[in-house]
């Protein structure tokens, strides 16, 4: 069935409907990963967005029940060039098309995704809609009238409703869920953490009530300013000197907690090939990224914040460290999925902090005299 993609600037592409033949709208963003469409689709950070995949053949290895970063597709739509209808992989359970239908997702194929990507690169990310309605003029009108889908609702739509704890771990860690990818929690559990996931709205008291040895601020969708309500909780955790790791949106929020300003990138970083330089180690790692905002480097208090990582492509801030407290954050995704696993050592570094904190608190507990 014929379908259209209309952008807010009036540009129109025609293609074939995939998934649900219906209408959807969202912020149109492109991702350059050549594998990992299922992880990308189920990444809650894409809430409110329509994903363009630049690799032209999608669906080749099908879809399975294990490569999900969350139980649902948070993205609003999918734009691709070619869809594979006969996937081939030992883990494949169904086609991508069926998966999209199951999750009620509107998509479009046969789009010149390279032309679209170049357009977004040049004009910047913008709103757009996909529709199977055979009336392009009307659709363009509607697209032009689209309002950005931001606001606090975006994170609220993907965060957990109430706190829950995943047992079978040694080290108590709280993950603040702004739309956490499954593999963040999994990576922590693999390293022996007893993970408690709390909603984005959790206060410092709620977080501390779980007596965590470490707190992770997760990734999540939308404009970090919309999640400013979480800053007091973050400051509370910092105050308590509990080890803190921020990932992606969590990184923005730590930056903001340190007084930093956030700005929107023209077309963001979404892909599995972004080189990030660790300034302390003078080493470069290839990272998975998915973000549309960045922390302004000179906006934070130099007494508190140290920039530890930069993006080699555009020198944007990729990592921060609190100079006096056990807190750091990174813009990219050490949990990978989709993407390279080069930076999974961050979880180990965090664990060292967690274990040190644990050792300290248990000593304090035994000695009965808190030092601070």
């Amino acid at each position: 069935m014929k379908a259209y993609l209309c952008l807010a600037d009036g540009k129109i592409f025609s293609g074939e409907s995939i998934g649900m033949a219906d209408e959807t709208s969202g912020e149109v963003v492109f991702n350059t990963s050549m594998t990992g469409y299922q992880e990308i689709l189920t990444d809650p950070s894409y809430a409110g967005q329509i994903i363009v995949l630049t690799y032209p053949l999608i669906g080749n290895y099908g879809v399975n029940s294990t490569d999900e970063e969350s139980p649902r597709i948070a993205a609003k739509g999918l734009i691709i060039k070619e869809l594979c209808n006969l996937p081939s992989n030992y883990r494949s359970e169904q086609t991508l098309h069926r998966y999209l239908v199951k999750h009620n997702i509107v998509g479009i194929k046969d789009i010149d995704t390279r032309a679209l990507t170049k357009h977004l690169r040049q004009s910047g990310t913008m709103m757009g809609l996909i529709s199977a309605e055979p009336n392009p003029e009307e659709l363009v009108k509607r697209a032009k009238a689209l309002k950005p889908l931001f606001g606090p609702e975006l994170v609220k739509s993907v965060t957990c409703k109430s706190a829950y704890t995943l047992e079978n771990g040694e080290y108590p860690v709280v993950v603040v869920d702004y739309g956490a990818k499954g593999n963040i929690v999994q990576s922590l559990r693999n390293l022996g953490c007893r993970v408690t996931v709390v909603p984005a709205t959790a206060s410092a008291e709620e977080i501390l009530s779980f007596k965590p040895w470490g707190v992770v601020l997760s990734n999540g969708p939308g404009d970090p300013e919309d999640v400013a309500y979480s800053l007091p909780a973050i400051r509370g955790v910092l105050e308590a000197e509990i080890p803190l790791m921020g990932i992606c949106l969590g990184h923005h929020l730590l930056g903001m907690a340190l007084g930093g300003k956030i700005y929107k990138l023209k077309f963001g970083h979404r892909g599995s090939n972004h080189p990030v330089k660790d300034l302390r180690r003078n080493r470069v790692y290839i990272t998975a990224q998915n973000h549309g905002y960045a922390v302004q480097p000179d906006s934070m208090d130099p007494e508190d914040a140290e920039i530890t990582h930069i993006n080699l492509h555009d020198n944007t801030v990729e990592g921060l460290k609190h100079k006096r407290k056990p807190a750091f954050s990174i813009q990219f995704h050490p949990e990978a999925c989709a993407g390279p696993q080069d930076t999974d050592y961050f979880f180990e570094e965090f664990m060292e902090m967690v274990q040190a904190f644990g050792a300290q608190t248990s000593t304090e507990g035994r000695n009965g005299n808190a030092q601070k």
Partner: protein, 1065 residues
């Protein structure tokens, strides 16, 4: 980490002659490396024996040594040049082995030369199977159960422990020479014997076979700070079992989920780190199609054929970056030359599909065993890019120039189902087409997957093509949508025209009228994420066109496509020089080619590169978009010349010699008329359209005669026949004769063959040099030893040759290059052939005369004259040097191919010997070609009756030099009667020891065997020659080559004297 400032002078080792398994990719890598080093102000000393390469041009490196790649010669060069560093990882396995031998011989330490980039320990870790296995065990990377053995018995014992099938891989050889898969003890004994022989260290690896698993490769780069990136992943369509060089490969991987992709990527990074490689590295995995189990199957600690492919597939210049890393830079300090703005420390994201298909030599070697396995057989390869798999695949198929236009080949229709299944199981070069025929017959992809192991994803893609073709055939009228679908799926106009039964031109017009147009997309390393500056394009249909043609004057250079026997790297050399000359002349150079190995497809070579099939449709699309002044067809071998006429008919201006004049040189009748008019003799002969006519002509001319089909070029299926019986056999077996396919019958003149290359501007003819062949006429010029300047020709001959050349060049209105082959017989000079284009000898001659032939020819095409450029006409006086071009063969890679030389070309590459005198030059040429020159010992002689008299003095000389001569019955008797000491050895199957035992014994210095006609003797001789080849004993089949070798043995003394090319000029 910035550049190591101690490095002022660096030596780069090239890879020597082109052989199967080691081709033009190392010229590409080496040339990039030289440029990359000089960019950093480092003086470069280059050693390579291959004259057909760009890297051995006097202006690519500061000091160029065209010397044999032996430890002795290179050690001399090191002593003389005193480089601080040695870069050995860009010269293939030859370069790597040579560096290791230099290190072992203590030369590097003595001369204080630092091995740059990947350290010796890392090379050893990757190359020595035992150390490699231990290293992998340390980092928990799985390798298949295996054992390194030094004897056949040990191999059999190991097989008893772990069972069959087993794969045998010899240590330290080229392209897996001598390996194979054994299903039982008998096969294992056979393969093990051969493998042990080929291994430089007499070791073979016997290993569990994972045949049928997915084969996945990663190109990885690491710097000295331990930063690592993977440039490209590749998936072989053919599962494990077929050498990756013989596999159809796609990039990036298509059937791996992110989890499996990242699993292997992480493994690749662990491996390159554990080995400690600094530079490029290729890692091959076998991945179980039904689980996430994998094995590491091979690591190449250097740039390779795969890295050239990965570079062209992604736009990421691996060799250039590897050279910078060798100088001490870290990846983040190196710029990404494609975007200009980002760093080289990133992983390319691509938004198209790349398909590579190997080019096999089976069209030349009809009798060769076509089965593919662990021994690579392809001489070259093509690559194509498309926005989907069918289009990339079909473009690649057309680039092969094998007369396939699509997947469905009519000749497969005749096969029965059983024959097809056999063909599928056989795994030969035509399997893809057999699969397509099965799909046409509606055999399910599941069943084909079960038989072939090819992934269902790929099979479904083939099915898409087959179904579409059937649908188009069945429909009477096509809608615009049908046509768009066909074009987007990669169907060519030619194929569509064929289906519709109309001329291609009409199809093209129809398509255009429907608004279906080619569009060009950029290869930018980043899937459109950043603005890119590298002008590297491929075509697709009905998408956005990214080409922004300038208003500059432009000229298109057509490349020569895949490397094959008869059309090698020499033509790429010419194309590159032409592109440079165009740029120097202030115009924009546009290169069209499809060979991923070469320098011409390095986007740095031209102003614009189009990676496309060299077909009328693709070339016209580019010309319509770019509107160049014209097209240069002289440098791309027969591939480009064949396009001259159709392009001209389509209204394109062909620069240089006119299309009609090209035809006058190539059309037999018109050419005869021309020579008649010029009063230049040629061997008499005529064209036969039936067997009877052929016999009549032969009888009239008198035997021997030279016979060949008129419709093929380059000596294919050409033979010398000595009597009527042989002629009958030839006409029955080798060719079909008909009015549409006539056969040429010429008198065969057993004289001296001479070759001339000339540059002509229409008024003047510059002859840089004349080359004489060591072998008499009858051996293909490409397989002959060519000597410059001639050593045995009289002045009168030289004058006549120059005069004839001038006359022919002028009367063909040559604008550019022309190559003429002559034979001197009974003091009379005859013309054999005129090629109105650049020849195989152009790079060789350009180097040793210092005359930039391609540059002059190109500028003539652009309107200048020789006088404008400061050159006069006439035959150039030679410099005080003797240069010898010696052919190199790959017979040991091709089972069942006849190693005897004849009118059909068989060599894959060449080396040059360069010295001040003939014997030294010939000595170097032999060494460069891999001969070990024995001073004493045993030799084997089996001489045909017709050659016995002529061979006698040579064998007597052998004896006099102290060689013990073994000979078979007839030859032994003849020598005995003539009082030459000889030991008789039994013919095959006639007692022991037989000639085969003798050859296997490994004590023979060389074998001299001349071709005997007649069924039995031919079979005997064939076995002797094959055995010699397979046991790596030099086998001479021409008395002239034999004579040359004896001269070298007799006269050359002491070590080879080395001298840089620059010092001769």
């Amino acid at each position: 980490m910035p550049k190591n400032e101690c490095l002022k002078k660096v030596m780069v080792i090239g890879s020597g002659p082109i052989v199967i398994g080691q081709a033009a990719e190392f010229d590409y890598a080496g040339t990039q490396a030289c440029r990359s080093l000089r960019e950093e102000g480092v003086e470069v000393v280059l050693v390579n024996s291959n004259p057909a390469t760009i890297m051995t041009d006097a202006d690519i490196a500061d000091r160029v040594y065209l010397e044999p790649l032996t430890v002795e010669a290179v050690a001399e060069i090191i002593k003389k040049e005193k480089p601080q560093g040695l870069l050995a990882t860009l010269g293939g396995q030859v370069g790597l082995n040579l560096a290791m031998n230099l290190a072992q011989a203590g030369v590097l330490e003595e001369e204080n030369v630092q091995l740059l980039g990947t350290p010796l320990t890392a090379i050893e870790k990757a190359e020595d199977r035992e150390i490699f296995k231990n290293t992998m065990a340390e980092i928990n990377e799985p390798v298949p159960a295996s054992s390194i053995v030094g004897s056949v018995e040990a191999a059999l014992k190991f097989a008893e422990e772990i069972g069959y099938p087993l794969i045998v891989r010899p240590a330290y050889t080229l392209g897996g020479t001598g390996g194979g898969v054994a299903d039982n003890a008998e096969q294992l004994a056979d393969i093990a014997t051969r493998g042990l022989k080929y291994s430089m260290i007499h070791q073979i690896l016997v290993e569990r076979s994972v045949a049928g698993w997915k084969e996945v490769e990663y190109e990885v780069i690491r710097d000295s700070l331990d930063n690592c990136i993977t440039v490209c992943s590749m998936e072989n369509i053919d599962p494990v079992g077929i050498h990756t060089g013989d596999s159809i490969v796609v990039a990036p991987t298509q059937t791996l989920s992110d989890r499996d992709y990242q699993m292997l990527r992480s493994s690749a990074l662990r491996i390159i780190r554990a080995l400690g490689i600094e530079g490029g590295c290729n890692i091959q995995f076998a991945l179980d199609p039904s689980s996430c189990q994998y094995y590491v199957i091979e690591v190449n600690p250097r740039v390779s054929r795969s890295s050239a492919l990965a570079s062209k597939a992604t736009g990421y210049p691996i060799a250039k970056v590897a050279a910078k890393i060798a100088l001490g830079f870290s990846l983040d300090e190196i710029a990404n030359s494609v975007t200009g703005a980002t760093s080289a420390c990133f992983e390319p994201a691509i938004d198209y599909v790349v398909v590579k298909i190997p080019r096999w030599p089976f069209d030349k070697f009809a009798k060769a065993k076509r089965t593919l396995g662990s021994q690579m057989k392809a001489t070259g390869e093509v690559m194509a890019l498309g926005r989907n798999l069918p289009s990339a695949l079909l473009k690649a198929i057309r680039s092969l120039e094998m007369n396939f236009v699509t997947l469905l080949a009519p000749e497969f229709r005749k096969y029965t189902w059983k024959e097809l299944v056999d063909k599928l199981k056989l795994m030969d070069d035509e399997r893809l087409f057999a699969v397509a025929e099965c799909l046409r017959r509606d055999i399910s992809v599941e069943q084909l997957n079960r038989i072939t192991g090819i992934d269902v994803f790929f099979l479904d893609s083939f099915r898409h093509i087959v179904c579409l073709e059937k649908m188009l055939e069945d429909k009477k009228e096509w809608t615009a949508e049908d046509l768009i679908l066909a074009k987007k799926s990669g169907f060519s106009d030619k194929q569509l025209a064929h289906i519709m039964g109309i001329p291609e031109k009409e199809m093209r017009e129809k398509r255009k009228a429907l608004g279906v147009k080619a569009s060009f997309r950029m290869v930018d390393t980043c899937a459109g994420e950043f603005a890119a500056t590298t002008p590297y394009y491929y075509s697709t249909y009905n998408e956005e066109d990214e080409l922004a043609p300038s208003d500059n004057k432009k000229v298109v250079v057509l490349g020569s496509g895949p490397i094959r026997i008869g059309q090698g790297i020499e033509f790429d050399y010419c194309s590159v020089h032409s592109a440079w000359a165009i740029r120097d002349a202030g115009m924009e150079s546009i290169v069209i080619n499809n060979n991923p190995e070469t320098v011409s497809t390095d986007p740095d070579t031209s102003d614009k590169l189009f990676f496309e099939p060299l077909t009328l449709e693709n070339v016209l699309n580019i010309i319509e978009a770019e509107k160049p002044l014209g097209v240069v067809v002289q440098f791309g071998g027969q591939t480009a010349i064949n396009l001259a006429k159709p392009l001209s008919e389509a209204g394109v201006r062909v620069l240089g010699t006119g299309v009609d004049d090209i035809d006058r040189a190539e059309d037999r009748k018109r050419f005869d008329a021309l020579l008649e008019e010029l009063k230049i003799p040629r061997p008499v002969g005529s064209t036969a359209t039936s067997r009877d006519e052929a016999k009549d002509i032969a009888l009239k001319l008198g035997f021997p005669v030279l016979v060949r089909p008129s419709y093929v070029l380059g000596g294919r299926a050409m033979e010398i026949v000595y009597n009527e019986e042989e002629l009958t056999t030839y006409l029955e077996e080798a060719v079909r004769v008909s009015p549409e396919h006539p056969v040429l019958v010429d008198r065969y003149m057993m004289g001296k063959e001479v070759e001339v290359d000339a540059v002509c501007d229409g008024a003047q003819v510059l002859i840089p040099g004349i080359m004489e062949h060591l072998e008499r006429a009858g051996v293909h010029s490409g397989d002959s030893v060519a000597i410059y300047p001639p050593q045995t020709l009289e002045q009168a001959h030289l004058d006549t040759l120059a005069a004839y050349t001038e006359r022919i060049a002028l009367s063909l209105n040559t604008r550019g290059l022309v190559n003429i082959q002559y034979v001197i017989f009974d003091n009379q000079i005859y013309v054999l052939e005129v090629n109105p284009r650049a020849s195989r000898t152009v790079p060789f001659l350009s180097k040793v005369t210092g005359i930039p032939m391609v540059k002059l020819a190109t500028r003539i095409m652009l309107g200048e004259t020789l006088a404008d450029m400061g050159y006069a006409g006439g035959l150039r006086k030679p410099l005080p040097l003797v240069a010898i071009k010696m052919p190199v063969f790959s017979f040991n890679k091709l089972i069942d191919v006849e190693p005897s030389l004849g009118p059909e070309m068989k060599s894959t590459g060449e080396v040059m010997g360069l010295a001040e005198d003939f014997v030294s030059s010939l000595h170097k040429a032999f060494l460069g070609a891999g001969y070990q020159i024995p001073k004493t010992g045993e030799i084997l002689a089996t001489i045909a009756d017709k050659d016995k008299e002529e061979a006698l003095p040579l064998l007597r000389m052998c004896s006099g030099l102290g060689f013990d001569i073994w000979a078979t019955g007839g030859t032994a008797r003849f020598l005995y009667e003539n009082h030459v000491p000889v030991k008789e050895v039994a013919k095959i199957g006639q007692g022991s020891p037989s000639v085969l035992d003798l050859i296997r014994g490994g004590n023979l210095g060389f074998v001299i065997n001349t071709l005997t006609r007649g069924k039995n003797s031919q079979r005997d001789g064939f076995q002797i020659r094959r055995a010699a080849v397979e046991f790596n004993i030099p086998c001479l089949t021409s008395l002239d080559t034999f004579k040359g070798l004896l001269k070298v043995i007799e006269q050359s003394q002491g070590p080879v004297m080395i001298k840089a090319l620059q010092d001769y000029l």
